[in-house]
């Protein structure tokens, strides 16, 4: 009797702990997002999104900061997408999955993905700001972000290229298509949704980044006039308002809300693209 009783009691206790952990996680995050909504929602309107900040950010909006953020992301994408795509095609099509070169590249990608963002900031500061003489500028920041987004883009792009069914490739070879035209006319279209999802994830990572931007793109909150001007990203704005500007918390909450909504939209778009990708492959 007792031996039968004990496991059941223990199973119930374990179930309680397991359910409790899951609830605690969801609860904590509902708390965070709820707080942001309550603190930020009343302030976000069209004027906030377009007006320049006033009084060090305590009043006014985030217009120029959104512009700087957009330019940073554009630079990051323009650099990282062709490089990442090229590297992924090379990895997926021209190196065997278990070859030595492929392994070396993949290993260094893993390390690159694990490098702390602040170290990317140091690196960008030395290479782009000092050595290449770009100074604190949107260009330096965008290039640093591109280095950070590359591992993510390469990895997802390689995975989606490898997911293209081998039958497609074999029939293309049987038809006598050259390797470049196989890549151009067959692989890229077939893998497009997965590639897109990877790019979107890369943008998301760049948008969330703060630490790497402080010493590369700088703090200036005016509307930038060229990509060699310093510009403040939205995440840096939140940091500056909450740490360095007494009384900046309200506007920081509003900015944080804008940032989180933008990221949720981006992740949603990526999930959508991935979902379509899965369906397309499943249909074949």
């Amino acid at each position: 009797m007792r031996t039968a009783e004990r496991p059941r009691w223990r199973g119930l206790a374990a179930a309680g702990v397991v359910h409790g952990a899951a609830l605690a996680v969801l609860g904590a995050f509902a708390w965070i997002l709820g707080d942001l909504l309550v603190a930020g929602l009343g302030q976000v309107d069209w004027a906030f999104l377009t007006a320049p900040p006033q009084d060090a950010g305590r009043a006014g909006g985030v217009g120029p900061i959104l512009a700087s953020t957009g330019i940073l992301l554009a630079i990051c994408l323009v650099v990282a997408v062709p490089l990442g795509l090229g590297a992924a095609i090379f990895l997926a099509e021209f190196t065997p999955a278990e070859g030595r070169l492929g392994r070396l590249v993949r290993r260094s990608l893993d390390v690159l993905a694990g490098v702390p963002s602040i170290v990317f900031g140091l690196f960008g500061n030395v290479l782009f700001c000092k050595t290449l003489g770009l100074g604190f500028s949107l260009l330096s920041g965008g290039l640093t972000l591109a280095c950070m987004a590359l591992p993510l883009i390469i990895r997802t792009a390689e995975a989606s290229l490898r997911a293209v069914p081998p039958g497609l490739r074999q029939s293309a070879v049987a038809l006598g298509m050259s390797r470049t035209s196989v890549v151009r006319h067959l692989l890229l279209p077939a893998a497009a949704p997965g590639l897109l999802a990877g790019f979107v994830l890369g943008v998301g990572r760049a948008l969330a980044e703060t630490a790497a931007l402080i010493f590369t793109s700088g703090y200036v909150d005016r509307l930038p006039e060229s990509i060699l001007d310093s510009g403040r990203a939205l995440s840096v704005h939140i940091y500056d308002l909450s740490m360095n500007v007494p009384g900046g918390d309200h506007r920081a909450a509003a900015s944080a809300l804008v940032l989180v909504v933008a990221l949720l939209a981006i992740n949603g778009a990526s999930a959508l693209a991935m979902g379509r990708f899965g369906r397309r492959l499943g249909a074949r």
């Binding site: 374990a14 070396l104 893993d110 963002s117 690196f123 280095c147 590359l150 944080a256």
Partner: protein, 266 residues
């Protein structure tokens, strides 16, 4: 190829900025000097190293069990539809920027802690915020590892009449051990390298903390705080901190790869 070049360039450039100072004062100076007064030639980084290790370890102690249990909940306890929703939510949380976690910690958590154990910005606040930040990483990777447990093993357990918890503890968790280990190590790497959130809630006093309520400064936060005005040797010392951080993170990635590979063979 390109990525290998970037990795080398990062290590190379960071080390090149740090090397002259290391060569001049010797590597031991960064652990035995009388304090961190970089403008007067004292470069002791060890309080910051302790700050980094303590916050990261504390966060892992909290987030590790909770994250694994949440993954177990999603795989073995929750109805499938609810588990899908839960997974989607955790995925979204993984994308929330660190500066937002930091802001929340600063405006909500720190005042709360200040009421219980002043001054508020503290090791405890850092641990809590970091734990929240790495929870999604632990949960998602543990979830993937549990999903990869062969169905026959679980069916075998069911055929033996094992209860749900006995199946989880006796079959699923041991089988997913390597995957969960990899996830925990990667999460630890993220915690070690995290800058903004920790910078915003930890108080940033250079000291080895004596209690959870003491403020601390981490290596990453130190770089972020002082880089803006650092010159000469001071700047070089910050690059030493950066190199130290990179080495820690690379070590964790390598460990994770070893754990993952053993899994593939076993």
């Amino acid at each position: 190829m390109l990525s290998a070049v970037i990795v080398l360039a990062i290590f190379g450039l960071v080390l090149a900025e740090a090397a002259p100072l290391i060569a001049r004062v010797g590597p031991a100076a960064f652990f035995t000097d009388a304090g961190w007064q970089p403008t007067s030639g004292r470069f002791n980084l060890s309080p910051m190293l302790w700050g980094t290790l303590l916050t990261a370890a504390g966060a892992l102690l909290l987030a590790g069990p909770v994250g694994v249990l949440t993954a177990v909940h999603g795989r073995f306890y929750a109805p499938p539809a609810w588990a899908r929703v839960q997974r989607r939510v955790v995925e979204l949380l993984a994308g929330i920027p660190s500066v937002v976690y930091g802001f929340w910690g600063l405006t909500v958590l720190v005042p709360l802690i200040a009421r219980l154990a002043p001054p508020g910005p503290s090791l405890l606040a850092g641990i809590l915020v970091l734990a929240l930040m790495i929870l999604p990483t632990v949960t998602l990777l543990a979830d993937a590892a549990l999903a990869a447990v062969p169905a026959e093993q679980l069916q075998g357990a069911a055929a033996l009449g094992l209860g749900r918890w006995a199946t989880v503890r006796g079959v699923a968790l041991p089988a997913a051990r390597a995957g969960i280990g990899t996830g925990v190590l990667l999460a630890l790497g993220r915690a070690v390298g995290e800058t903004m959130a920790v910078l915003m809630v930890c108080g940033n006093v250079v000291q080895v903390p004596e209690s959870l309520a003491d403020p601390v400064r981490t290596l990453a936060a130190n770089v972020a705080l002082e880089m803006a005005y650092a010159m000469g040797d001071h700047r070089a010392a910050l690059f030493v901190a950066g190199a130290l951080l990179t080495a820690l993170a690379a070590l964790l990635v390598a460990l994770a790869a070893v754990v993952g590979r053993r899994h593939a063979h076993g």
